[in-house]
Structure formats: C-alpha cells, structure tokens
Symmetry: C2
Subunit: 485 residues, 2 copies
C-alpha cells in the first residue's frame, strides 16, 4: 500500500503518525533507561500489510487445537521428562527441577492459566509455517490492539477508505480485552466472592516495554475496579516480601506491612535465563510455583512451550498422540510444521550443501538467538565439540514473499522538520511478516478439565527482508497489522 | 486530597500516573527539541484541587458575557484606536497597523471566529478575580480534557471513589470536543457544501506543545473525515506558498503544486513578538488577514484581547458601555475585575509603600513577563525613564488560599526505581491555582450578528505558592482540574 506522495509531505505524515501512535500508547521507555520520564514511539508500518484472508482465518481456527495440545503435553510427565531432560540446556533443566519438586509435593493450585501465542511465517506458496509457540510472557497483546486502531486511522485519512471498507479488510483485534478478561476471570475463580486477594505481575527490574503491560493493568482496573494489581520484580519479592501461608496461600507483604493473598501470578519475566540475574530469582520462582495462586503460566505450561516440542511434533506419530485425530483441523495443523533436525554430524553435512536453506534455533526465549546461513557451520562445530551448553535445533528456513512497505523507524526525522519544501517519503522497504495468534486456556490442575479454551486476538510483526529477528526489542521488528484480501 | 501512604508505594504510583498520562497524550516534546521522537509527560497534580462549586459555576456563567464584550470592543474602532495607539508597545502597534490596513480595504471575510479563555484566580474570600482574557492561541483545550480523564482515574483507584461520587465532584470538560466542533462549524459556514477547501493551522516552527494541537486535528478528522488540515509556520507559507486569489480567496500551494482554498485560519502562533522571528512573518500575517478565510481570531478580535482593556474595563463607566447593563451577570462580571493603575510616578509611590501588594504586568502573551515585589521598582524606573518600549500596567496582587497538593513534576524518579523498599510520597506542596474558562464565538464581520456564543470547557493550572508564573511551558505551571465542593 503506497502513500500518495504528490498529495502528502512525508515529514508531516511521519510526524502525524508518530504522534498519533504515541497518543495511543504505542511507545516504550527510551533505551538506555536513564530517563524514565521519556517515552518514544515504537517502529510501525504506515499501512497494514496484505495477507490472504483464508490464511489468516486458518491460523485463528487452529489456535484452540494448539492450546489443547500444549495442555496435553504439560500433563504428560513421561513425555516432558523424556523430551527435556536430555537437552543440554541449563535453563530448561532448572525449570524442570522446579516442576519435579512441585509435582512431587502435590500441586497446591486448583487451576492454571495459559496465555499463549503461536507465531507463523507465511511461505511463498501462502502456507502457514509455525515458527514457535510461546507459553510465557507473550508480549504486545495490548499494543497490537492499538496498532489496529492506528492503521484504521491511516487507511481512512491517507488512503481515503470508508469505515465499511476498513471493516471489510481489518479484522477485529481484541487481544488486550481478552487477555485482561482472562486474568480477571482466573482471579474470580480463585477468589470467588472474597474481594481481598490481588493479582501479582512478575516483571523485569528494567522494562522498556512497560506500556504493553500497564495497558493490561488499566484495562483490568476499568473492567473490575475492585481488583488490586501489584508489579514486582524477583528482587522486590525477596527477603520475605513474598511468602507461603499455612494453606500454601501466596502472601505479599505490602508497604503497610499487611499481607495480601495473591490470586493470580502473571509472569512478564522468567521467560529466559536473562530474567534470573538476581541471586535468589530461582528460589523465588519455586516458591511462587508452590503456592495456591493460579500461575499464568504454571511451570508445566511453560515447559510445554520449550521449542524442542516443535521438532518432536513434526513427527506425525507423536503429533497424533497430542492432537485428537478426529479434530477437523489436525491435518491442517500438522501441515504448519516445517522440517526439523536434531544437532548431529549428518545435520552438519546437510547445512554445508546449502546453508541458506536452514536456520539454527535456540531454546532461549526473548529473540536474538537464531543463527543463519554460513554462520551455522561454525556454531554447529562448537556445539558438536561440546563447547556449548545451550540447546539448539536445526530448522528449514522459511522463504517468504516479500511485501513492499513504508516504515516509521525509531530514528527521528531531521531536526529542521518544519519546512514546506517538498519532502518525499523514504524508499519503500521489502518486508517479511510474522503472524502471532493469541490463545487463552484455563485448566483444572487435577482432573485436567479445561474450563475455557479460546482465541485472544492477533499480532503482526514485520522486519526488513534479510533481517534475522522480528523481535521489536531484541531485533528489527516493526509493529504491523494484517490487511485481509 | 492525600494519598494513603500506608497503602501505596510512591514510586509505583508516580510511575503509574506518569504512564497513564502519557497514554492519554498528556505530554510534550522534550526540550531541547533535538530529538523529535521523544515525548515526556507534562507536570500534573495527582488529584484534582478543591474549588467551591458556586465559584466555578459563576465563571462558567460569565463566559458568554465576556465573549460578547470582546466582540463589542473588537467592532469599536474609536475605542480600539484610543486605547491602543498610545501604548508604548511595538507588538500592539504592528497588529494595529494590520487592522487599519484591512479595515480600510474592507474586510474580505464574512465571519470571524473567536476561541477565548478567561483566566481567574480565586482570592482568599473565594472571589473570582480575572487575570486576563486570551483571544488568540488559547492552549491546553485538548490536554485539559485528558487531565479530567486522568483525575477520574486517580480518584477511582487511589481514593476509592465510585463513578457516581466522581460525577458529583468532577465537572464535564468537553473543551477538546467544543473547540474542534467550532472550527468544523466555521469551516462549514465558509465552504457550504463545497468539500474542497481546507483548514490551516498556523503554528510555530518549533513547538513543544504539539500534542495539544494534534489532538484537535485528530478530533476534527474523526468528526468530519472529509476536512483536510494543514499545519504551517510563517516560514512554510513564504515564497508564494500562500497567496490571494482574485476574490481574496486564501490559496495554499500544496506539495503537488495544486492550490487549496483555505476556509479557516486557526492561529496557534502569532500571539507575541517572539512568534514573528522569521523575516516575512508580518507580511504574511497581513496577507492572511486580507483573505476571505475565517480567521480564528481575526486581527480585531486579537486586539480586543490586549491586556490594556482590563485596566480600562475596571472603570465602571467604560465597563457599562461594553457589557449590557441589563445582563443578569453584569455586576458579577464587574466584581471579577481587580484594581489597575497605569504607569506613573504616583503608581511608583504606591508600590514603594508595599511592593508585595502589586504585580507589574506586560501586554506580551505567552507568560513569563510579569514582575513582582521589590523588582517592580527597578522595572518601573526603567519604564519611566523611557528605556523600555513594551507596555506594562500595574495590578493589585491577588492573594490566594493555598491548597495542599501532591505533584508529579517533569523530573524523573530515581533510576533505581523498581524496589519494594517502602518509598514515601514527596512532601505535599502548597499550590495556587488559576481557572481558565473557554468560550467560542462566531460573528458576522459586517452587521456584527453573533452566530453563536457559547462555553467551551475549562482549564485549571496550578503552581507552587510563591512561583510567579502559571504557564506550563513558560513557568512552573502544573496541569490540574477542579474538584467541586
């Protein structure tokens, strides 16, 4: 989608969109975070990116099956153990140790909440290809709803589309509402009519993407003003600030020295080893898990999101154990898996023949850990000689159809920006996009009854073709939305 | 209104309010403006400030009479000339020259739009005391509506007030909606059913308070998507970019070299000599005034806001010439005037006796030009010896009842802000407040029929007691709202 460059002065347009995005909260703290009062607009595409409606709808349709598969993996102790314990991954091993400890002691929590996001690329033949399923701290659920609003504005005012036309091409995105409502509903299931318990957001000590999290908090407060919400890092929770009561209640000592019972722990940290820098983080993670509070996610739901399961589920026999074959979507879901190889000498031989056909992926979450092309060989050599402790696996590189797009990066426009001299848009960029579908699932811990299993909105992140990572903070990711055609 | 410091950690509260304010657009560009992508939250009070309902309501009730008085002054050529030409004020003289030129040529515009703001202090006996009436570029009409929303949030979540209680104490503030609608309505009157004309915002080359202006633009676009709006500085309009057509149409040459007819010129610049730094600014201001476009404000409405009129209208005989004595509000309005003195040796003698009872005010708009206390004598000596060219007048200092308030300044919290160590609120400050009431008036230029004369919301700005200026950008002003009691 192009801007009518004869009609619009680019500097005016960029300033307008950047400020409009800021007024919608599509911004983050400035990095480095020495000045906490300053916010800057996150990178966004000027217009939404075209996507086939059927492809988008398929991804939406598949999500409940994915939610259910994650749940089924999470309750299969033997499969978790077999799959994860052999991984040379210290982070997974530590998570697994918490899981073992808690499952031996017996789960105190009656329920567990998952807010997942399944990420896809769309290949050159318009096939959905699953990149990963995130089961912890799935970000941008608030901001993506705002980007949908931003793109409705740009379509209306820079493309002249009517509301009806926009409604026909832009899917409703209620990710913020759904995630906030899921947390509220989990809180209600824990607390019943008792109004005294509170929700705990476990957050990083330094968090640039704070607006995405605060918007969930504000939405929850607007929907249920009685719910109290606390944001605490592991460091904040140490020294007895968080503790267990006689019935495994999770108790947070607040500023007035009273203890508040926590109903739901929502993790926006603890997704990778980098989140455990504080010395007692792991002890605190265990303590949280031992409590009666509903964890979003529980340790077993987090483990079920380890990327190793992608490689395992691409084996149809294993896939069929976890995806009900009677599901109308099972074949379609299986087709979203791409080819995987475990690390071996023969895998190395494959890569040498055609390095650009592969990507070496790490189990670590948070982006920035993938290796591409020629660099895979060096990395494989270090892994094969046991000089690397993290778990990796090899995946077929997904070749996408590049789309032409006009981008607003973080960089500022020239400081002499108020000028009427005709200022042309920058060159259009070729971008690749990654579609994320959110799902929400609440399950009973014992008996494994699924209380709800639902969709929860979507995310589109784009990046310059050739860039390796689509993470908005870790890499070159740009917030986008799908324009359905 | 106090924060329950036993219940809330101040660092959490400050961060929450600062981010919530940012998400509502209560922010400005960072100064210096080297980095146009960064925005920072403007200073706000945590809670609204108490105000007697009857005092607030009186200010609201007076506004239509004030709108009408400004109009009556603007059409009284003899009074304008007598009052302004003797002023030793180069800025006013230049405005007057434009007015004379245009009135001799005959006004091309059929209508003129005023968006005014009458500012008041409330003295220790709860009396409204008018500080000034602004008739050009009355700022914060968008942001004050957002601060009302922010304070509804803080009252609900940090004071536990119900929606009903909040509705009982917080007046509806629709200043953004009203100002946007006034500009749209003026555009419709100019253009009728012709959809091709556009609105021109005349803005400063460097503008920190851009969000307040962009919000008006976005509100207008959402109400009337067909209206095109251009933001241009004087520099942007030079070199033939703006010109007059054969019927005095105001024509803006756009980026594609076509000419767009301008329906309404909305000045968010041109309010003080500092806005005329670009060499051809005055020529361009004249050209705009000569056009058929509806100016907001016209040169005569701008002139009617010169502060000199405050001193003149505090004479009851003059007041009665401009305020219909049959108006139910005329006595009440007259009582809002405080005592004024023109600059003279006898005024100097008065000040020497009790300097703290006076303030020396300049005609210049934009804040930061007042002189207080002992410093008045030095300034008066320079004025009396004719070494100063700007117009000043002496006003009785209005002593206010200080209110205790909790403030969020621009300064960042400590960088080690994520800590659970009990962090107390900063000391409460004593503040003074200034209430602004917006009004909107559209008049026919010939015949002087008033098409509409209405209220358009309100603004409350506070400052630390003892601070001299309440300007949010020029001084120590803090955005606030009234809590009616």
């Amino acid at each position: 989608m192009e801007l009518d460059k004869l009609r619009y002065n680019w500097i005016d347009v960029e300033d307008d969109i950047r400020l409009y995005a800021s007024s919608l909260g599509i911004c983050s703290r400035r990095i480095p975070m020495d000045d906490r009062r300053s916010m800057c607009c996150l990178p966004v595409t000027v217009f939404p990116s075209p996507m086939e409606r059927s492809t988008f709808q398929l991804a939406i349709n598949l999500q409940p099956s994915i939610n259910e598969m994650i749940h089924k993996i999470s309750i299969n102790h033997q499969f978790l153990e077999q799959s994860l314990l052999k991984l040379p991954d210290e982070f997974v091993a530590k998570l697994f140790h918490i899981y073992q400890t808690v499952s031996k002691q017996g789960y105190a929590a009656s329920h567990q909440l998952g807010i997942f996001r399944s990420d896809y690329m769309i290949d050159q033949h318009s096939n959905l290809k699953q990149v990963e399923v995130n089961t912890i701290s799935t970000g941008f659920c608030a901001l993506t709803q705002q980007v949908t609003q931003l793109h409705r504005y740009t379509l209306k005012h820079y493309q002249g589309l009517s509301d009806d036309q926009i409604n026909g091409h832009i899917a409703t995105n209620d990710s913020l509402d759904r995630v906030a409502q899921s947390l509220i509903d989990a809180h209600r299931i824990y607390s019943g009519t008792d109004q005294h318990s509170a929700i705990l957001f476990v957050v990083q000590e330094q968090e640039a993407n704070v607006m995405d999290q605060k918007m969930i908090e504000w939405k929850m407060k607007s929907l249920s003003p009685d719910i109290r919400i606390y944001r605490r890092s592991f460091r904040d929770l140490d020294h007895g600030i968080i503790s267990l009561g006689p019935n495994q209640q999770l108790l947070l000592t607040t500023i007035d020295k009273t203890q508040v019972e926590i109903s739901v722990v929502y993790f926006r940290a603890a997704y990778s080893s980098s989140c455990f820098g504080y010395e007692n983080s792991w002890k605190l993670r265990l303590l949280l898990e031992q409590s009666r509070a509903i964890k979003c996610p529980s340790i077993q739901l987090q483990l079920a999101g380890v990327k190793q399961f992608q490689t395992l589920l691409s084996d149809r026999a294993i896939f069929d154990r976890f995806c009900c074959s009677s599901s109308p979507h099972s074949d379609k879901l299986f087709n979203t898996y791409t080819k995987f190889w475990n690390i071996s000498q023969s895998a190395r031989d494959l890569v040498i023949k055609n390095p650009s056909e592969f990507v070496l992926k790490s189990n670590q979450e948070g982006g920035g850990n993938n290796v591409f092309g020629e660099q895979i060989i060096d990395k494989l050599d270090r892994i094969l000689s046991n000089n690397e402790n993290d778990a990796y696996f090899l995946m077929q590189f997904i070749r996408q159809k590049a789309i032409k797009s006009l981008l607003i990066f973080k960089q500022p426009p020239p400081s002499s920006a108020t000028t009427s001299v005709a200022c042309q848009p920058p060159p259009y960029n070729q971008i690749d996009s990654e579609l994320g579908i959110y799902g929400s699932v609440l399950v009973e811990t014992n008996g494994h009854h699924i209380v709800w299993n639902q969709n929860a909105g979507h995310l589109l992140r784009s990046k310059l073709s050739g860039e390796k990572e689509a993470g908005v903070f870790s890499g070159a990711g740009i917030l986008d939305t799908p324009f359905l055609i």
